[in-house]
Subunit: 489 residues, 2 copies
Amino acid sequence: MLGAGVIGGGWAARFLLAGSDVQLFDPSPTAAQAVVTTLEKARRSWRRLTLAPLPAEGSLTLVDTVEAAVTGVDLVQESAPEREALKISLLAQAAEAAPPHAIIATSTSGLLPSRLADGMRGPERFIVGHPFNPVYLLPLVEIVAADRTSPEFVERAAAMYRAVAMKPLVVRREVDGFIADRLLEALWREALWLVADDVATVEEIDDAIRFGAGLRWSAMGTFLTYRLAGGDAGMRHFMAQFGPALALPWTHLMDVPVLDQALLDKLVAQSDAQAGGRSIAELERIRDDCLVAVLRGLAGEGFAAGEVVARTERELYERAGARSDGSAAADGRLRLHEVLAAPEWIDYNGHMTESRYLEVLADTTDAFLRRIGILGPYIDAGRSYYTVETHIRHLGEVHAGDRLSVTTRLLGHDEKRLHLFHEMRRAQDDAPVATGEHMLLHVDRAAGTTTPAAPEILAVLEQIAESQAELPWPEAAGSQVRGPRLRAA
Amino acid sequence: MLGAGVIGGGWAARFLLAGSDVQLFDPSPTAAQAVVTTLEKARRSWRRLTLAPLPAEGSLTLVDTVEAAVTGVDLVQESAPEREALKISLLAQAAEAAPPHAIIATSTSGLLPSRLADGMRGPERFIVGHPFNPVYLLPLVEIVAADRTSPEFVERAAAMYRAVAMKPLVVRREVDGFIADRLLEALWREALWLVADDVATVEEIDDAIRFGAGLRWSAMGTFLTYRLAGGDAGMRHFMAQFGPALALPWTHLMDVPVLDQALLDKLVAQSDAQAGGRSIAELERIRDDCLVAVLRGLAGEGFAAGEVVARTERELYERAGARSDGSAAADGRLRLHEVLAAPEWIDYNGHMTESRYLEVLADTTDAFLRRIGILGPYIDAGRSYYTVETHIRHLGEVHAGDRLSVTTRLLGHDEKRLHLFHEMRRAQDDAPVATGEHMLLHVDRAAGTTTPAAPEILAVLEQIAESQAELPWPEAAGSQVRGPRLRAA
């Protein structure tokens, strides 16, 4: 990593969290602290983003020279300030010292790569890898080849970025601003005109996006959105209907706004008002929490950026090895279920609503039933366990993003009955947040009666009971709800 | 409602779900079916969006004339095709027949309101109310006054839109395209250039948004985002750093792309490829599910559009509180909650999954709390009841569509404790399907401790206890889960 500003620090955090070792060079005396701060934000966000087992973090080494940074690496990622001459010289220096197989990448947001590769040794290794802030959360990275870049290195760069949970977008040919920044800049310029013309303040302009089209853009871009607006008649119909509006005077076409002192003063004053006294750190936390919530929501749908999250989780689980049902704690209690508290589980009191406690407990019961063999064929044959009684103690609050893990005791069983006791804990502090005691009956669903479980099921139950025989009886089991002025039954 | 296309149908669904009665005129023979389809999509999305009790749906009346549509209404919302002459004549006709107090609103996405009000009777009532697709989910509505519009009607329109869970944005002065569509159009024009120049396909352009800046835009607009990019030095620093890039050739400035046959053919072919054979209905479902997930995520953060969702939920609970008068059965038990078992509550055993029993019971507890005065202001002051213990007996199966009704006993209470007993029955045969026994504690949320409830709350509890004094003790109350091989505690 060359450079540890907002972008370089974000890259470092993304690679470290993905398990890569990072050597970082930045001449600024505050660079080290900045990276540590960014890494802490990235860790917090990823803990909230996924339950999947993250790999061990890579090591971060701060070095004093460009040469020390690029020695022995597979990827050089340059994130220096956006000045062409500076980047050309820095990249040339890095290319001299880097291994021949190393990809040389620049984070430039719009400079032409063929100009940046000027005089570089081994220019076939050079690409643009343009990320978006916050780099540790947003999946997009634009890859742009220079005129002498080899296709093999483009492919390797895409694979390397994909391996750190990103969505590489290979740009077909080099143009100033690539794809994303051309779009962002067009919108940004029109926004500046709206401020200059006093049609709207910066806050009103932001609201015009985030309460409307911005919500759509988290899932679908403009083209797919407009396809939907056109209905079943398709894109041709939409263009016939709305194409003519392109010629209407809906934007300033001809010019860029002049950034004179008056416009700058207005922008600064309005931006300060919009921030409402909140610090950048506070706003960053809000931004990251919102991004995590949005990404988590999209992951549930498996769509747009949610696809990247879902794919990453699959790979993390695979890499961690198959975590089988029924992994037991040292004392014999079963660890069958873990889940992140979803934002939609939160009620008006600001914490997890009570029925979601039972949902987590019931999901654990389902995991237990799968563990003892109550699976598709058994259920298809008309047999199952039904819960007939439940006793929950709510012991602690749960907030959105908390990771919950549940351990299970088999308190007792006979041919028809199953008596379970679950303990639910918050992973971050191991605090107990609930216990659930559940009585289940084995039923023949067609006959609508209770019936003995199959011998192979009872055999597994017997094994589990033996493995837990030494565990003390849970204090809360068998207790009843006791109230004020409780009369004798 | 005048017009039942994508926008008009979306308006109808939003108002109906908010409990408003709608009279709708559209000359198309397929309009009625289109509105029903849209309403079904809106219902599904709102069921997924919030746990809060939605009001009873308003009534939808399809009428044959403009005059019949606007008779007796508080708001006329015109959503005819985007042709100025058509809108002028339709709005004038509506203004003739509508009550003098009615707001006359047009959904135009960019036509100038002062031109549309040409020749209108009572032009002080006229505003633009420009929504975004899907209208039943996206909160933004731009309000633009014409030259003769009275400020009082602008304020009333904002209040009316706010009441149907929207975010009104009053545009300071009328310009073509207002705010949002100027921004969207600037981006859209640049996107068309990228396709015309073969820099990217429509899918690549959409990906450049939805995997990057689009995720941010769901929470923060461009100005706040760039403020963050500038760091603690603020907007002036950011502009000094990035302002010069505005003059770089990063966009096509000078012209709109010519929509000739070749460009149209390319757009259509690429858009078809992007859709990948998915129908518009399927894509709409994906879009709506993603929007719900994103809105729900943001609601958890209480930020951006999530603020609107959170505010709406608060209001819904308050309105429900005002409604639940605690209608009592003959014997003094309270009837506070009734609900239809939804199809998504059914599990692999073919009946209602166990956590939904607790959801219904907990909703009844919430209704009881509203009944005794635990409402918005009380909760906002940091006080509430938390459930600490629950005992459920599952007595019967529930299937999709079953109507469940719950009666409630107050078994006991003191200054801090509340002991409730709910009985849930299937309405069709009055069979008991569950009982729930619940212990709640009164808490001070800020202090994180239990605290006595306010005297006025305790007084209501005393009244209820007296009215139920003659009821026999429920057999199941105070019982414990008893299992096979239950050892002594």
